[in-house]
Amino acid sequence: MTYLLRGVRPLGGPARDVLLEGGRIADVGDRLDAAGAEVVDGDGLVALPGLVDLHTHLREPGREDAETVESGSRAAALGGFTAVHAMANTDPVADTAGVVEQVWRLGRRAGLVEVRPVGAVTVGLRGERLAELGAMADSAAAVRVFSDDGRCVDDAVLMRRALEYVKAFDGVVAQHAQEPRLTEGAQMHEGDTSAVLGLVGWPAAAEEAVVARDVLLAGHVGSRLHVCHVSTAGSVEILRWAKARGVRVTAEVTPHHLLLTDDEVRSYDPVYKVNPPLRTAADVEALRAALADGTIDAVATDHAPHAVEDKDCEWGAAAMGMTGLETALSVVQAAMVDTGLLDWAGVAERMSAAPAAIGRVPGQGGPLEPGRPANLVLVDPAARRVVDPYALATQGRNSPYRGRELPGRVVATFFRGRPTVLDGVLTEAPVHDLAEVGA
């Protein structure tokens, strides 16, 4: 199938026609003519390379009541993503070649987005001994990102060994930086608000101490380190210092840490309970500046759907996490683009090129040039919408943006040359090639 995207603005630049043919970008130019092509009116739409998420919880296997690879893939496509990294904290944990291949196959079957499994660093996420990282790397899933996300690899020796070991297959350890002893029973950011609300505090230092240790370790052994969901101004300072020294460290920030503060917790509504916790306005400002100047390389959603009953309760009993796939681009537009901190080319870099490079995902991340795989998203930045969690494709209803008006709307997503989303709705047919899947 051939598609002609008429008058779209690649990376927010001048209007161009983009021709998609045979799963690739065939041409980019003015007044392209392609007989027989299906024409998509792109007037006013910004074209970006398909978004790549380094941090997604798809919950399958184990918590199919919260999300499945299929439902999460739908949410991802609607959010403009063409690749997502499925976190390893499933049940069973994705700590063997068998489990990562299962998740990878489920992703192929859903066929809406490239599902890249993340492998656990340690067996069962228990932080005791290394999982078979090499086997996961060599599997059909070709795992390159390893993380015990949800848990911190707090044993310094284990972390050092993991950093060293994954060099053999160009992997990266994505650390969930949370010193466990300093955060026992922690419920929210430790500061003025936690003092008033009587909730156990989560000091910024508990994150920063691990980030500092890990950049020193990564520098020492010359390995790649990726820091998940950076949430504090102090972490930003450490990252800036490490990068200046040439440490091979990359970092991500979530959309919610770019927009929301711990002030939301005053409602005691568990929809705002998340790990790492929402921080202060000063942290939000520092994170935005760091994303703008590249100290933070990428935006990652940490999409964390939960069953309704795990949030419809008192704060202390609630699960941590927020959904994010279908609101990420809008939140980044609100926090970064509409504030003048980042242009659309910058968004493409932070939400597509950089995460694709960190995750070593071939064929994703652009650029939007002839010959490249046709993974791209068309966004209407002028649109506005009020978020209704029940109207989203994710099974999780725990969107912190419920009832909020957000800018921007994903109009179309193309995955390997075929539309997964058109006119803002999922297309009927999944994109997968049955022969390819081996079905």
């Binding site: 003025d192 003092a195 309760c313 008192e314 704060w315 202390g316 009993a317």
Partner: protein
């Protein structure tokens, strides 16, 4: 007043109103016939997720003396680990027609959630939630202070009084509610604790802080009118909040010698239950300055006032929620 979740729900006039109504309620309790018909036909549920016989029977007595029907509902453990969720319990209470729910819960914010999640329509009274607040305790403390150190006349506040609150402020809902309420009533509060037992962020509270009990008792922050000792759990030493119960007692306990540092009129308060020999010695607890038993008696009058104001449709000038 729709709910009473935090002492901050009361402005100065609202807090004074509660104390005034409590004074009227206390007067009725001197009569032979203590029962008032005010809340006849109304249902008050005591929903207690923590053992607290003292607070529960105080609320129960208050509701019964106003002729309300009282249902006691005890549930232990958190909603997720065992039994029914807070939501389902709330829906059950709503179906049974609860006009007010008095809730004690180990999770900070649970009463707030109960009041605002749309599960029930009745009034919610916070009877202590986690480390957050215990507003009726602060009200009965303020009531006790006003009676002891003021005339107890209607309309009076606590302007100019200086109160030291001593002990485990970090984990104390009593301390949080008292800081808010006493400040609102015009009193000056100084918190005294080892630095480990003061929360990060306490510097934004409307009070002073000190690590030195003796200095505060000697009047270095101004002459004290009252010292309120908080219960300290000896187990806190296992989490390194202090080295040992003995050291805590030596540095922050109130004994006879320290008691003698106070001005003659100053009173000694404790929300109970007391750890005699840890935060307070028997001499201090049993001295003529001690208001401990009085606080218990005043608790019933204050809780009658709160239930009355929430349920009787009384005018609520100055009271917001």
């Amino acid at each position: 007043m729709r709910h009473l979740l935090s002492a901050a729900d009361l402005d100065t006039a609202g807090a004074v109103t509660v104390l005034d109504v409590a004074e009227q309620m206390a007067a009725t309790q001197q009569r032979e016939m203590k029962k008032l018909p005010t809340l006849r036909g109304r249902t008050v549920v005591n929903l207690f997720y923590e053992d607290s016989t003292r607070t529960r029977i105080s609320f129960e007595a208050a509701a019964k003396r106003l002729s309300a029907d009282v249902i006691n509902f005890s549930a232990k453990g958190s909603s997720v680990s065992k039994g029914e969720s807070l939501k389902d319990t709330a829906l059950t209470l709503e179906a049974m027609g609860a006009d007010a729910v008095v809730v004690r819960h180990p999770a900070s914010g649970a009463p707030h959630r109960l009041a605002h999640a749309g599960w029930i329509r009745g009034a919610v009274v916070n009877a202590g939630d986690g480390m957050h607040e215990h507003p009726t305790q602060a009200l009965l403390d303020a009531f006790t202070l006003r009676r002891r150190l003021r005339d107890g006349a209607p309309g009076e506040d606590l302007k100019g009084l200086r109160v030291a609150v001593v002990g485990d402020v970090l984990h104390s809902r009593v301390a949080r509610s008292n800081v808010l309420l006493l400040e609102r009533l015009g009193a000056d509060v100084v918190l005294v604790a080892p630095p480990t037992l003061l929360p990060v962020g306490v510097e934004t509270w409307p009070c002073e802080t000190s690590y030195d009990l003796e200095a505060v008792l000697r009047g270095e922050h101004g002459d004290l009118d009252a010292v309120m000792m908080l219960r300290v759990q000896a187990e806190r030493m296992n989490a390194a909040y202090f080295p040992s119960a003995r050291e805590y007692s030596r540095r922050y306990g109130l004994d006879a010698r320290r008691l003698s540092l106070l001005p003659p009129h100053a009173v000694v308060m404790h929300p109970g239950p007391m750890n005699r020999g840890l935060e307070i010695s028997a001499d201090a607890a049993d001295s003529a300055r001690s208001t401990v038993v009085e606080q218990v008696a005043n608790g019933v009058a204050v809780r009658m006032a709160v239930l009355y104001l929430l349920l009787s449709g009384a005018p609520d000038e100055g009271i917001h929620s």
